[in-house]
Symmetry: C2
Subunit: 301 residues, 2 copies
Amino acid sequence: MDEHSDAAGLAEAMSETAAAVETVLDAELPRPDGPESRLFEAMRYSVLRGGKRLRAFLVRSGARLAGADDGGALLVAAALEMVHGYSLIHDDLPAMDDDDLRRGKPSCHVAFDEATAILAGDALLTLAFELAADPRVHPDPSVRCELVRAMAAAAGGGGMVGGQMIDLAAEHGGADHDLIVTLERMKTGALIAFGCEAGAILARRDAGFRRALREFGYDVGLAFQIIDDVLDVVGDESALGKTVGKDAAAGKATFVAALGVEAARKEAGALVERALARLDGFGDGAGLLRDFGAYVLARRS
Amino acid sequence: MDEHSDAAGLAEAMSETAAAVETVLDAELPRPDGPESRLFEAMRYSVLRGGKRLRAFLVRSGARLAGADDGGALLVAAALEMVHGYSLIHDDLPAMDDDDLRRGKPSCHVAFDEATAILAGDALLTLAFELAADPRVHPDPSVRCELVRAMAAAAGGGGMVGGQMIDLAAEHGGADHDLIVTLERMKTGALIAFGCEAGAILARRDAGFRRALREFGYDVGLAFQIIDDVLDVVGDESALGKTVGKDAAAGKATFVAALGVEAARKEAGALVERALARLDGFGDGAGLLRDFGAYVLARRS
């Protein structure tokens, strides 16, 4: 990755990682063949979609800071992007958020059908664990088991899936600020925190090192979500590539609904400040992660 | 487990395992607490449902034959039952097989709702991998990684999920015998084969030992499915606890549709014979697996 530690360097490092993880995903996702080919087409359609690949970037940046091998980190990044991709497919389903569009393209269940979308999500989640346990990720199997367990804890009922459950229950229910923090820490924070921590697991760093990166991930993840909510209200549709005002129309529990735009921005700023403080003492190796914190607040899309 | 190796002994050993794995599942499944409690309720509702627990029985019997620790085998059995439970929840969804009843009780999406059912399945699959990688399963992490990878391969796009994809595509399509064999080996065979092989992985047996148990699983699994198809046509509703004739009404690709009842029974018999031949040389330790083969053919429910 690029060595710069300013906004231009960050953008370059992020797009370099996005391209690298896309190549790995392309290689790891089975190619259509045989009567089940429709399943693999739907998996590839949903995951090989370009995009910023924030999670992959955080895995790779954390791995670099921790001193982990980049090849293993890229495979973990690909596994994490598979988990993220599965979650988007299932979240878009009619029974869930009922979204016909994802990044300007028809959602998986629209491009294929609901049954195929459910199965494509299931197969992606399964493949992510197969990949995380792959000997190519790390020569030490205890490291791979740690990765599997940490990724499962972040993705499962106590993490992402539990957060989505609360989110669905909170719609139109007037969720208060504390509940929104809880649900967003679970729904998006846990997987981002795992991504930040993964490099420290790969490099067998101690519990304190792991915790610092994980908590950095929780804080920037929550800040990222708050800015998402803000942009849904005040964002530029052409920059975002999506309709604004959707959350409010859907009665979603958002930080802006609970706090208003200004207080929400302020909270995101405080979270990024806390996140950056967690990197104190990590020196120059944490440059990209620090730049990422600044990017979270400054982004317009 | 019971030491008998006749039909009564088999029934006793099966019900002993069913009770034991139910206890483990009860302990491993999170209990409702917090705003996401509905998710855990749905998971527990779907998995703690009693039943024969064939997969758990095969894990435990294979482990015993291979000389693996029973405690670890029971945890793998519980993980496998979670994967099976998730697959039933998702298969029953309106977009898939649209089944309102499962073992005489409302399906998960009927008892809860579709979104909760999708998420409960997702969380169960995730938890299964977290459990398989748990240090309590085996002290050697390379064994746990093997289990994770073998279970993922059996459950994913190249196994169970791929088989379900083919099954949905084959409905009303007049699938031929070869395609039905392919889809059933993937849809139900792969997970049963993993269950049979798991004990050999736990006991670090060589590739030949693993292959023998895995192939035994594929053969009895396919025979089991064929008899399922036969019972759907000629079975006793009160013994089965479900409506007969459902597969034909749904236009399902079944062995009976492709072969007729008599030829289907004959094929099941040949498969069990081949399965038993794979156990040649394993001596008395394989008694329960041999009895299981006979049970597959003789069962009435």
